[in-house]
């Protein structure tokens, strides 16, 4: 079942947020991605394991960490 996973990600602008959106968007099994530069937060709706999502986010080269499910 899909859950909303919260990640903390170092984002300095909408470009960073766009990169997060794009890497996750390519992943099959991701339903929704919400980003907030202001909150340094990425919310991912997916049934995929959190480690898969985190590894994918890390591909952007930005520092990110897992916060938890909402």
């Amino acid at each position: 079942m899909a859950q909303v996973h919260e990640f903390k990600m170092e984002m300095t602008c909408e470009g960073c947020a766009g990169a997060a959106q794009r890497v996750l968007g390519k992943l099959e099994g991701v339903e929704k991605v919400e980003t907030s530069v202001e909150k340094q937060q990425v919310l991912v709706t997916s049934a995929l394991p959190k480690d898969t999502l985190l590894e994918t986010l890390q591909k952007t080269g930005k520092t990110c960490s897992y916060v938890g499910t909402q």
């Binding site: 602008c13 990169a19 794009r22 890497v23 080269g61």
Partner: protein, 71 residues
């Protein structure tokens, strides 16, 4: 070594530029990389035996940007 210009779409600030330069510099076969935000372009010097322009584009795409070999 060879040199290729790659068009990179999606960069908005110097942190994006730094990010791509830092990560791509560690990829196999990359000798040197310079990224220009104003030109939306990466200039990469590489070993043709170890990597290829297509491979370099894929690696940049993987980071969440659109990349294609500039004509």
């Amino acid at each position: 070594s060879e040199c290729v210009k790659i068009q990179v779409i999606g960069m908005t600030c110097q942190s994006c530029v730094k990010n791509i330069e830092t990560k791509m510099a560690t990829q196999k076969g990359v000798i040197d990389i310079k990224v220009s935000l104003s030109e939306n372009e990466a200039t990469v010097m590489y070993h043709p035996i170890k990597t290829s322009p297509q491979k370099l584009c894929e690696q940049i795409e993987d980071m969440g940007f659109d990349a294609s070999v500039a004509k």
